[in-house]
Symmetry: C2
Amino acid sequence: MGTAAFDNDASGIGFFYHPRSIAIIGASSNPAKPGGRPLAALRKRGYAGKVYPINPRHQEVEGYRCYPTILDVPGGVDMAIISVPAESVLDALGQCAAKGVKVVVIFSAGFAEVGPEGRALEARVRELARASRIRILGPNCLGLINSADSVIASFAFIADLEPVTPGTVAFVSQSGAFGAMMYAQATAAGVGFSSFTSVGNEADAEFSDFAGYLLDTPETQLIGGYLEGAKDGGKLRQVAEKALRMRKPILILKVGRTGAGARAASSHTGSLAGDDQIYDAFFRQMGIVRIEALGDLTAFAILHRSGREYRGRRVAILGGSGGQGVLLADKCERLGLSVPEISGATREQLERYLPAFASARNPIDLTAQGGRDTSVWGKCLRVLLDDPGIDVVLAQAFIREGTGMKLAEELVEICRATEKPVVLMTHLPDDSEYVARCIALVEDAGIPILADGLQAAEAVAKLCWYHEKASQAGDASSLPPRILPGEGADALIRSRERLSEFECKRILRCYGIPVTSEALATSAEKAVAEARELGYPVALKIQSGEILHKTEAGGIRLDLASEGEVRAAYQEILASSKRFAPDAAIRGVLVQEMVQGGVEVIIGTTRDPVFGPVVMFGLGGIFVEALRDVSFRVAPVTRRDAEEMIGEIRGYRVLEGMRGKPPADIDAIVEAILRVSQLVTDYADEIEEIDINPLVVFSRGAKAVDALVTRRWDRPEARQA
Amino acid sequence: MGTAAFDNDASGIGFFYHPRSIAIIGASSNPAKPGGRPLAALRKRGYAGKVYPINPRHQEVEGYRCYPTILDVPGGVDMAIISVPAESVLDALGQCAAKGVKVVVIFSAGFAEVGPEGRALEARVRELARASRIRILGPNCLGLINSADSVIASFAFIADLEPVTPGTVAFVSQSGAFGAMMYAQATAAGVGFSSFTSVGNEADAEFSDFAGYLLDTPETQLIGGYLEGAKDGGKLRQVAEKALRMRKPILILKVGRTGAGARAASSHTGSLAGDDQIYDAFFRQMGIVRIEALGDLTAFAILHRSGREYRGRRVAILGGSGGQGVLLADKCERLGLSVPEISGATREQLERYLPAFASARNPIDLTAQGGRDTSVWGKCLRVLLDDPGIDVVLAQAFIREGTGMKLAEELVEICRATEKPVVLMTHLPDDSEYVARCIALVEDAGIPILADGLQAAEAVAKLCWYHEKASQAGDASSLPPRILPGEGADALIRSRERLSEFECKRILRCYGIPVTSEALATSAEKAVAEARELGYPVALKIQSGEILHKTEAGGIRLDLASEGEVRAAYQEILASSKRFAPDAAIRGVLVQEMVQGGVEVIIGTTRDPVFGPVVMFGLGGIFVEALRDVSFRVAPVTRRDAEEMIGEIRGYRVLEGMRGKPPADIDAIVEAILRVSQLVTDYADEIEEIDINPLVVFSRGAKAVDALVTRRWDRPEARQA
């Protein structure tokens, strides 16, 4: 007990996984009950620390001496499990505080998940915990398991399962029952877990606290999670960044994607789910692998534990049946992997080995004949692995009675001679002991075996993506650049509750975002003078913090080509705006250069309740309105994030230049996104939304033509105002 | 032997499934060899007809008397299996012809799949078969199995499998080995097959011939298929239409979706694969359920055999674990099912039954407590099925030792009292005999059981879609309307090799498609006169069958507002076009009204090598160019097809009216699509492509502003010309 990670753990979370003693408040002698199952399991698995059942009605439970209250226990208690009705939890927790308990697992339900009264009770639990420096898991949770130390602080049915293989996967779940089911099914499929944590209502410690701690433990190589909604997006971000640096993948099954799912997810644990599109962006940004079903976790974990790196996306498919190869090739390409044609020399060699009717193209079809001949299969596999144009081989084979061992031995030998990953697709052991021995030989050599080729392809695609993300994690494009604003931004932002376009664009200019040439005029004469300065044609726009929709107010005139037009337009704009909004404070009329050509894009920011400021990019005009063709990233964004945002919109081709137009200056968009991200990060507490619509992008450079920076409504001084 | 379907079968295909006698040319006494396995299997399964091994080197094989040649067999032979090297196949087939054999199964490989020589050999096989009125399965196939009659004319390993349940699924596959694997896996998952057919190279009878015959057999309720490419799209269409009328679903795993897949698919059976996007449209149009993996076939078949109709998409999810319910609800909504909120009375009843911490919202979370109480589960299920707002219930339950039988009995009773479908999601039998009995009770009552909830949701979505398609099959919107062209279309289409815009629009007008008001002018004076007639402004466009890109040629002038402008433009257009294409035959200059407002769409047609004329719809301009946002249907299209084409483009919102514009006249687009479909159907042999770009759609009506009808290059008279 006591690992290095635990000794350095300032959060106190380590006591959950390595307690030297465990008290169970509400202990029961019935192992089917929540207060009984952990006791039985701790006994059976041989937990090495001290165990104290607490129950005034018993003298002894499961052979352990039982105490009336935790205060009666001689010596210290690291962990207490509370398994009493909700209304008695506060009392029990109070006694834990008095006893100096480090961590408490609360099984009991009846808190935030049942309504306002429960929420109030949960708040009191949290306050008491914080005041007494106790960390809490739950309430309304199934508890946790740490296999290595035989810590079974759970009443889930998985408490009774024997660990199958030494585990490297830590599983953290916001759903207890479903999480336990995933754990059990993945265990049955051969995945080894290091720990299981059901976080329940997260009254105190949350998903990210546990994941963050577990990352630091040497036995954990991969974290699996079931998430309905993160409490604190920033904390999850820190965990994800650390995980990526450590190259320990995080896989999350995130639900609440659609209406009904989101509704149920929020009723289920009382957690506030963020918008799913933003979660999706966040996961992509942070290198978190999003999974859709249990099988995805299993397949990824099985491929990952081989230790091989998936350094490229070029896949060769070697298989017995042509049809299956074709299906698999289709799937690979849809997943963004490539199944390249086999090149000259490799192809010639393959053709030498293959029987007459077989195909040496990729996927390689050995036909029934070739599939039966182990040596042909092995030769082809060697040739493919030697080809520098191939990164991964998906190899299908039947492990047959009699010939299976030869194939297994050959596969092990071949894989030893290469660093490239090979995945064996074969049917998993039937009843034959011989086949089971072949399979064991392959598995013991660290070669992943999956029965389902489509699942193997999905896992390969995810590992390739993960490898790219992890490899980029250290480079310059993967850190938000530090952009220093010019002078005056601060004063401008705080100058007014409602900023007008002119002020907003000055703020952008402070951050180095190019805007149209323009000046504020407070009389027709000044407007004319400014127009002469700028050069005709010009646009005139009414400036008022109270008039957000300038067009509706008749507050905009475009393409004014002469002094006379400017003078007339000035008067008309003022008159129209005053009719539209008689009480609006009008700051003047903006005289702005007209912009010619270019492509319109939108850069905006919004506030997500979980993740804070989020940056959006899209093509302007009808594309956004008709297609909602936009992409998101959580601020601050890196150069690579910005590039990905631009690349992932469906209408990207528009930026590449169409109908004879030159390509748009992508770098200028990247710069603008980075600067907007910096601005909204610097003023996270001040800015509610930014909307640059449009930013006109030229073949060189870009200009913000209209912009709005909305201040936060809910900051303390705004509320007082 | 001899069913009604067989007696009426003019195609002769019935003899494959119900032969009264089978000869095996190339018979072997080794049951592991292609010439041996069928013999052994026919004997073992007790095939009731006569069996004649043919092999000059044996007297007797598997207890059957062996003959030197098929001509030595006494009496008639319905089916011959040929299992000899490719070079001997023609001889063997010739003897079959002399013997008056009805159908021949050719196992042998070495035909079209190996190159030009093989293709030539295959052509000779086909010619001989046609001349002698023999139907052929293969070559290069694994043969066929008809379980009911114990016809095992296959050397696939599945020849040795025992049939598990009386089968209702007929499986037809273009890949032998992969098809056999799917068959074996689905059988293991509890699906019962009526027949298996590996079609090989389809030298004579093809996929659609077998599927079409099998549809008529009473035992076949569902057809599963593996398809790389149909030989004859029209034939597949007829089969699909018949299947939909008979309400026998066709499920197809179609490969060749992406580059590598298509490459491999075409090398695999030498069949020419059509464009995948067109297959996808064709399947949607014809009610063919496209599947992506074997599990899709299994789940659909299990749900379908219950005989329940999936009449609506409103799903209730009843489950033990909240997390799983949420995941399932997400999946349902992504699949186009709805998971509606539970309404007043139903909700009140649910709340009465549910334990305190459970959720009566949909998905219904019983919590661990509720999940353990069979009676709560049953009561909730009844209440949900009684709710008219719910069409289907996905019910999750554990079948536990001790309580499982009560749950099974209750479920059977509940399902008897309703016509709505219920799917039980539970883990399939482990080793417990008790649990196996519970499962059997439920299955025998026709209630589908699936272990994987996500797969169940996918199958429900597919069955709902299928039910909609099948229900619509009879109504007026699901038949292509008969549109009679006005006079003159025929003469116009055949008038020239290269039609000019003016002629193309006259053809459209004959078919009732509205076009711009316009006239052809052959002098500046006539142009001025026509412009006066039409009213200013007008457009002028050069007319020549040789100038397809009028803008490039400087052959277009828009917005001409006066006599002077028209006169000048006329001369400039002529001069510029002559410079651009000195040899072009110029027919004159089109004087056309200018069209104001509206939305631009594109309607076009193209020829698919498999399906013939295909109609395309898309939003015009940048949408098509940047997003390829188009939809397809195979001609002739129905009104419903046309509506679906319009509805499924991503930019559909543009047609609903944006930025203050009124909605576009969808009916006018539907009419135009139907009329284009009729035109291209009437002149399938004459027309290569139609391109109406743009059709401008107003709030009432639409007008073709530019159009091109290209004649087929490959028709006989064009080749002579």
